[in-house]
């Protein structure tokens, strides 16, 4: 009765190997700038030696404990910072930009453990560090080093937290926590992703406890009127997947 579902895992493995050879970190051009979409969820601009990460949501765990009495493991901040540390060690950026919602709420920095605070300071040492304002942590930068900005220009790029409706070319934003879902042969894979249409790019959330909003949600439509490609963070590399192959939630 249940018709066997055809699947040839050999073909899939071979294909995946071919694609792997084609390059682990897909490059992308936006407003004349070359971007590297990193598997950690960060964006590397080699020419500017700048690493961009978005929606760190530091101290989200403690925000839940303070607000609703839900005691999530209080290790999300150090986990997020450890991932960031790994990327910083790899790229050695001259500048790190945190693209808003770096803290889950405005009181996040107060609740941060001294060890985590020291980790932030160590990451900032010897490099420019920019906190872009987000909607969760508007104007937070006190006591956490770095400098603060509403938006930032970088070559032909504009960096801001919330994607703007009147899409200026070369905008890089976060805020939406995009994730893409692929369903195939009775299996579903849901991963964080970069989304771009060649004009603008929306970054995945970097924070350990940050959730995701499916890219097929209607809120993305006005931002990408002509469709988009999502770059999903797989286990071993980033996968470029067309809108048609992405499932709704």
């Amino acid at each position: 009765m249940a018709r066997p579902i055809s699947q040839d895992e050999d073909a899939v493995l071979a294909l995946s190997a071919r694609l792997e050879k084609a390059g682990k970190a897909p490059g992308l051009t936006l407003a004349g700038e070359t971007l590297t979409l990193d598997l950690c969820g960060g964006l590397w601009l080699a020419e500017h030696r700048t690493l961009i990460v978005s929606d760190l949501h530091l101290e989200k765990g403690s925000a839940y404990a303070a607000r609703s009495g839900q005691f999530l493991p209080p290790y999300d901040t150090r986990e997020t910072l450890a991932c960031l540390h790994e990327a910083v060690a790899r790229f050695d950026p001259a500048c790190v930009v945190a693209l808003g919602d770096s803290f889950h709420d405005a009181r996040g920095p107060e609740r941060m453990e001294p060890g985590d605070r020291a980790m932030v300071a160590a990451l900032q040492e010897g490099r420019d560090w920019v906190w872009i304002a987000g909607n969760h942590d508007h104007a937070v930068s006190e006591g956490v080093g770095g400098r603060y900005a509403e938006t930032m220009r970088l070559g032909g790029l504009t960096l801001r937290h919330e994607p703007s409706a009147d899409a200026p070319q070369g905008e890089i934003a976060g805020h939406l926590h995009p994730c893409g879902k692929v369903t195939m042969r009775g299996r579903a894979v849901r991963r964080r992703c970069f989304v771009t249409d060649g004009l603008r790019l929306i970054m995945p959330a970097f924070g350990a406890y940050a959730g995701g909003l499916n890219v097929r949600n209607p809120v993305y439509e006005p931002l990408f009127p002509a469709g988009f490609i999502a770059h999903l963070l797989g286990d071993g590399r980033v996968f470029a997947i067309g809108k048609a192959m992405l499932a709704k939630d």
Binding site: M1, A2, R3, P4, I5, Q7, E9, V12, L13, L15, S16, L19, G61, S62, Y64, A65, A66, G69, Q70, F71, L72, P73, P74, Y75, D76, R78, E79, R111, E113, H177, V182, T183, M184, R185, G186, R187, A188, V189, R190, R191, A208, Y209, G211, G212, L213, N214, I229, L232, G234, D235, R237, F239, A240, I241, G242, A244, M245, A247, K248, D249
Partner: protein, 813 residues
Amino acid sequence: MAPTGAGKTLAGFLPSLTALAERPPAKQSRGLHTLYISPLKALAVDIARNLEAPIAEMGLSVRVETRTGDTPSHKRTRQIERPPDILLTTPEQLALLIAHREAADLFATLRCVVLDELHALVTSKRGDLLSLALARLHRLSPGLVAIGLSATVREPDELRRYLVPQGPLPGTTTDAVAVDGGPSRASETPALPPMADLVVVKGGAAPDLHMLETGLTLPLAGHTAWQAMPAIYDLIGRHRTVLVFVNTRLQAEYTFQELWRINEESYPIALHHGSLDASQRRRVEAAMAAGQLRAIVCTATLDLGIDWGDVDLVVNIGAPKGASRIMQRIGRANHRMDEPSKAYLVPANRFEMLECRAALDAVEEAAQDTPDARLGAPDVLAQHVLGMACADAFDPLALYAEIVSAAPYATLSWEDFEAVVDYVATGGYALRAYERFAKIQRGPDGLWRVRDARTAQQYRMNVGTIVESAKVKVRLARGVRGKPGAILPKGGRVLGEIEEDFADTLTPGDTFLFAGEVLRFEGLAEDEALATRAGPGTDPAIPSYAGAKFPISTFLAARVRAIIADPFEWDRLPKQVADYLVQQRSRSLLPGATDLLVETFPRAGRHYLTAFPFEGRLAHQTLGMLLTRRLERARMRPLGFAANDYGIAIWLTRDLSERIALEPDFLEALFAQDMLGDDLEAWLDESAMMKRTFRQCAVIAGLIERRYPGQAKTGRQVTISTDLVYDVLRKHQPDHLLLRAARQDAATGLLDVKRLGVMLRRIQGRIIHKALDRVSPLSVSVMLEIGRERVYGEGADEILAEAEAQLLEEALG
């Protein structure tokens, strides 16, 4: 303890009714006298109705009431102010009652507690929760009599211990110093743990049980039993009311559909399983009670419960899975002791014929294989500790003494208890981040108190151990007239619910069986899955959706192995199975009763390994995963595996027969027990099953709030996924209470690691290898599973790569 149908339930109330009758009639409430706990809400309501008749006949002034989730709040309040003589309720409601501020007063007068269907309750976390509530009742009302009502079980002593407080065991602390060269005092027989008295009602008439023989040759795999449908239909025609039990919801759907396809007489045949809309299930139950149905196709949802209808035949389709389980199902027919229950076992494939034979033998000997007593789960304990703080300030030493008096927690150490209290207070994290938000706080008097009313409210919202997976309603969408393929978003009726996890895997256009029909998935709209009826003759494409799948019991598996090993037994098997075994013996080998047969052979450009441990699907899936990892490390390039209840098949790129010929110890090393060490840990941590298990523990222990049906689904952006929490926790505090709880569950639950361990010990030095040049008859059965089940070991990246390839095709084409 009595066989099903012996009238246990009313017997359980007799002492209470006698005692109440002897009391002078009271003007006002005399306090709660008897508490009755049932696993099913409907059963409690039904028993209340059945009690009222004898009470009225005897002219007793006894007030009987029920308290369930449906009881209105004014009545709940009144029940506490003016308690009835007898209260009938469920384990969850009891947990809420003992956490009530008035609990001490309410239960001070309690003389008797009756636990119905105890054999079914004690095998789950609900049984842990109930044991803790029972310990509290024993404390609130010393001298309380606890009566457990149970079907026949393998180890009645375990139930007897469950009912009475387990004090610290005398004899265990005796010093072992020999005096004057005399015998050590420790050699004295240690005192037995306290146990309740046992009343055994001997079984009534022996069941009239047969294997259904259709004369047709059965396939080697598959669980649909399609060939038996006309015979089952014929049986329905010759009986008043037939219960047709199946093992999964998918089988229920299939069987229901097939029976209707050949239902020329238009017999009223209904369907009953856990995914169907509750109102639909109630309608089916009511129709059954009214004698309006000729047959119900049902899953384990009707294993327990109300005596309704006039069932004169039980048909069990597929593998019996366990001897006790099949006996309880058979007992659903002719719910009277003096008449034999009539039942047919219907095997769906040749292996199930072996299993049915083993089950018939077991029933004849009245052998039981109910599971071992549980070790109390830490997550349930955490829930209980918070509840006890809600009831009143608690002294940790006194609460500890009370908890270890509950049989499942009798071995709990003081350190583990403290860890649970610490978890309840601040989450139990090594990083003391949440001290100032503590849910329970220790006062200068040394007592722990709940922080505030909100925390108590959170506890009440979270009580219970049944964690429903998130569900999505399935609504029949209407097609737009004149526009094929287009659908109206709403308007059709709701057919039931499917697990969100399953809905997540559906792509528009996928067809699946649901509520007795083949449906075509059209898409998700808000919280609903929209579907249309697929055209006639459509095969459902998606093979299965979540639903309980019990593995074959260790006991039955051993019997099946013994039958295979002993050619003298084959005479008792249907000829086609005996012939099949003869063929296997001539082409390959037949393993002895405790041996493990491993076959290796090439087929269609690949190499295969098959093994037949007969330890059930869950243990085999775990085994398959671990063997694949090891073969990977041995550079044999495994590609995937499939498992069923009897064996596993692994396929590889490299030639395993050759490797084994070169390295005679290879197989022994491959199956060595140490695979349950690091490999298991590493795999467990990544496995989706483990994440699901963790989620359940996190919900029960109150880390994650429950989602309620009807409650608006919050966007994924704001809810925290337990998978993320799990990943962070295992990295930063791998010995956290909830991770330990999840591992404890994995040992016996979804992953059956414990059973795998026993098997690996059993087969040491008993692996029999046969290198073949083609697939053997035995191996065909498990090879047929390939493609039916999801291929394990297929990673997320392979799926993503395939989706990416589509994009490349678009770009290039």
